[in-house]
């Protein structure tokens, strides 16, 4: 029992460590999100509330545009569904990484913060995921995200653009640290990364297709590319260590 506790404590600490770049990036991104919230007519508390409850960048941006337009509630439902649909995929992928021994309650708590970044670091862990690793990252990421939003509403453009600009690449640096090392070991993954870069770029430039929102583009390309790869190069063994 004590071993389990120590293990959880270590996992929590590792989650916090890996959560630092996420929290930094979140702070910068949520600050700009707060500016969007202010433009939509939200006060700092409402901005904070939205962020602590929703934990979604694209989804919240989309939601704020609905609020700004004073659109019907049903429109909010559809917009959030579309903007966050990629989380369906991430949630399914995560479901395969949780030990059958893990209590169900953990699945409900983790669900609260399935976001691109924490999903990324969680999936990069070998073997089954210890929920406490996830909580460690949430522990830093969620306050930064929500307080950053509130500050964005409050202070608007107080942070110099240069700093925002620099902080905002922290997230992408992290993504690279997740996708590149497995690309060294698995050539299929390496090819998929390159193909994903290229097609994502093409999608943002091509007429008609470029009007598709970022969230939807992610879903379409993920389903097509990962789908084709699964048909052409099915994984042989249980590859729990990514």
């Amino acid at each position: 029992m004590n071993d389990r506790k120590t293990e959880n404590r270590i996992a929590f600490r590792e989650g916090m460590r890996d959560g630092i770049p996420i929290a930094l990036g979140y702070f910068a991104v949520s600050f700009t999100l707060g500016i969007a919230a202010r433009n939509a007519g939200l006060n700092p508390f409402q901005g904070f509330l939205t962020s602590i409850l929703c934990n979604a960048s694209a989804g919240e941006y989309a939601g704020f545009t609905v609020i700004a337009a004073d659109a019907p509630y049903i429109e909010m439902v559809i917009v959030i569904l579309v903007a966050n649909a990629r989380y369906l995929l991430m949630s399914s992928a995560l479901s395969q990484r949780i030990s059958p021994e893990t209590k169900p309650i953990h699945r409900f708590i983790i669900s609260f913060d399935i976001v691109d970044e924490i999903f990324g670091i969680a999936i990069a862990r070998p073997g089954y995921l210890n929920p406490f690793y996830y909580y460690g990252a949430m522990f830093l990421a969620m306050p930064c995200w929500s307080v950053g939003t509130a500050l964005g509403v409050l202070a608007g453009n107080i942070l110099p653009m240069r700093v925002v600009s620099a902080l905002s690449v922290a997230l992408y640096g992290m993504f690279l640290a997740i996708i590149i090392p497995p690309s060294k070991k698995d050539k299929v993954v390496a090819c998929l990364v390159v193909i994903s870069f290229i097609s994502s770029y093409i999608f943002t430039k091509l007429p008609y297709v470029r009007d598709i929102s970022g969230g939807t583009r992610t879903i379409i390309l993920t389903v097509i590319i990962a789908g084709l790869a699964s048909v052409l190069f099915p994984v042989k063994e249980v590859q729990n260590e990514a």
Partner: protein, 101 residues
């Protein structure tokens, strides 16, 4: 403003949570289907790659700074730098680059 902001926020929160929790709480067993298994194995890499490029070039004030950060990030990650090191290096290089660009 005809609609209540708090109801809007509540809808956002509820829909976001339902999307996230359904697969994670309903799929309890290990998926045996080979296609689905492979699909879920590839999904994270494709998703993260799609989200990284070209978005990294739009995140910075100068797209070139973003591109330099991308290349530096790939090189450092290739040589096994940690998650934290790669992120911080990307931030620093953008900060420095934007003094010159």
């Amino acid at each position: 403003m005809k609609h209540n902001i708090y109801i809007y926020i509540l809808i956002m929160a509820a829909v976001s949570y339902v999307i996230r929790s359904l697969p994670l709480t309903l799929i309890r067993k290990e998926i045996k289907n080979r296609f689905l298994k492979s699909f879920l194995y590839y999904v994270p890499y494709v998703t993260l790659a799609v989200m990284t490029f070209p978005a990294i070039m739009d995140a910075t004030q100068s797209p070139l700074a973003g591109l330099i950060a991308l290349i530096l990030g790939i090189v450092l990650a290739w040589f096994n730098a940690s998650l934290f090191q790669v992120s911080v290096a990307c931030c620093v290089v953008v900060f420095i680059c934007e003094f010159f660009i």
